[in-house]
Amino acid sequence: MSMKGQLTARKLVIKVTVGLAVLLAAMSVCSFIGSEKVSLQAVLDGFGRQAAVNPDYEIFVRVRLPRIFLAAIVGAALASSGVVCQALLRNPLADPYILGVSSGAGLGAVIAVISGLNWTFIGRSPISVFAFVGALGTVWLVWFLGRLTGKFHIIGLLLAGVVVNTFFSALIMFLTLVAKSQQVYATIFWLMGNMVEENFLVLWCGAGCVVGGILVLFYIAPQLNALSFGEEDARSMGVNIGRTQLIAFGVAAFITAIAVSLSGLVGFVGLVVPHGTRLVFGPDHRKLLPLSAIVGATFLVVADTFARIVVAPAQLPVGVVTAIIGGPIFLILLIKYSRKVSWLK
């Protein structure tokens, strides 16, 4: 009997390396695409000198590269988080925002604007910081409420998420209407998801957090596999359910909160990329996590590039592009690989 299909460390490393190569290629190509023409020669020239007025270099280094790195970080974070949410909730419709991250971030952002604070935190505006705190706090609240319905009760968790999301969304609408500040409208725009160039320190730390989080999730990937069979079976197979759920949710919420605080709410990536990757590579989380992260990063880099050029010089919010590109791609994958998908039976 052949063990051919089996996952080994070597096969995974090969797949991940190839994936990273594709991602880097995409990032390189996309950094030369945009509403302004940037020539490779001018960029290379600019790397040597200081203070020369070289707009190509400026655009490349100060605008394009940060944006592309940001898109990669956010895409990887959302995709991995989506994988974990779907695994823990055993629900194909789960995405990273399902447990309150979206409304929590929105509420945080609106409160930040209304309170009129103006300081920065390593170059992050108060909106981002409050959005981050709001996102994490809301997940904690949903987790707490969900636990009231029973220790590992998945449906309870989902319902708590829905209730909190609805309530907070209503709060956001209310605050938006009664707030005197005009800035509140800008918050709504920010929340729609956009890639703005950040300074390199923020990108570096963000990348560290996200990649670190993905590695933590990779460590518990075998436990996530076992959890697909239900808590009881997983426990019989030696998985510490409480610890696994706590780590998985905690890390997923954390990296989603980072993604949201960096770029607002970019939809669709966390829902579609896990499904697409799973359809092609199978449901084993040891493969699914790193590969989804890579696919998510590539996808968002490409989507952001589209967002930048399709209606240039204006820009579409990235969330629009992810939905428009993501939908048909997902459909094609689904039709092609539908044999592998059990929940379609």
Partner: protein, 286 residues
């Protein structure tokens, strides 16, 4: 009545691999499902747990594998109390086969069985050659190797049940707990599963505990039996002794026709419309 016959083996120097003493449990403080249950299972025994619905069979199984905590009494696996085992350590002693479960995202058969080896993975989460060999063996033993790469959802119920048994086998534990392993299976598969279980018991010396509704097959294959009653009574002993017509009629509350063909005992419940029913019963009792 709360007594348990035939609990402990008085003269054995070997202690049981499963020791249950004075076990009581209820899901709510007011109700009691199990009362003062005591028995000891020797290594290498095939124990059947039978009884009417609601007697607490599945509950007992869940208590044995540590999913539930007893209200009173103790359960020891291999000399140590169940509560004091860490989850991973317990998984190396006890494997459980429950009602089948199809996960939302389709894993193929071989991955499903391989998951049993999770406690034995390398730190980075990969299986070793030994793990692969054990899984291959388990697949061969359950005759599921031929659809190793097929997703679980594409199998019949019988084939799926065998896969879950293969998974439990791959876990390589001395104890195997099964919750109604032949539910929903046709005759051929019922016998097939029991054959497989018996072979495992004999070849590998595993201790098997199966909750079952099928008294006839239990009588055919099992060494020991635990009969649980709704009134919290329990009977423990060898299958021969426990499966007697008096016990069965009392515990299940139904008239039964007991017969023997060669060495095989069988029991058929008699309802109002059984042909020749009342006469046969009367004849038997006379």
């Amino acid at each position: 009545m709360s007594w348990c016959l035939g609990g402990k083996n008085g003269d054995s120097k070997m202690s049981g691999i499963i020791e249950v003493e004075g076990l009581s449990f209820g899901y709510t403080p007011q109700s009691t499902v199990l009362k003062d249950v005591s028995f000891e299972v020797m290594p290498g025994t095939f124990l059947a747990i039978a009884g009417p619905n609601g007697a607490g069979k599945s509950t007992l199984l869940n208590l044995l594998c540590g999913m539930l905590s007893p209200r009173l009494g103790s359960i020891k696996i291999d000399g140590t109390a169940v509560e004091s085992y860490r989850t991973e350590a317990l998984a190396k002693k006890v494997a459980v086969v429950r009602q089948e479960f199809i996960p939302v995202f389709g894993f193929p058969v071989i991955d499903t069985v391989m998951m049993a080896r999770t406690p034995y993975y390398s730190p980075l989460g990969f299986e070793s050659r030994l793990d692969r060999e054990i899984v291959a063996e388990a697949l061969e033993a359950t005759d599921t190797a031929r659809f190793a790469l097929r997703p679980l959802a594409c199998l019949s119920a019988g084939e799926r049940q065998r896969v879950f048994i293969a998974r439990a086998l791959a876990q390589n534990t001395p104890i195997l707990l099964l919750d109604e392993p032949t539910n929903f299976l046709d005759l051929k598969h019922q016998v097939g599963i029991y054959d497989l279980l018996k072979t495992t018991q004999l070849k590998k010396g595993k201790t098997l505990v199966a909750v079952t509704h099928d008294i006839n097959l239990a009588a055919q294959y099992c060494d020991a039996a635990l009969l649980l009653g709704i009134d919290n009574g329990c009977q423990y002993g060898s299958a021969k002794d426990v499966f007697s017509i008096e016990q069965i009629e009392k515990v299940f509350g139904v008239k039964v026709f007991a017969g023997k063909i060669g060495q095989e005992k069988f029991f058929i419940p008699l309802g109002k419309f059984a042909k020749d029913g009342p006469q046969i019963a009367a004849k038997h009792y006379s």
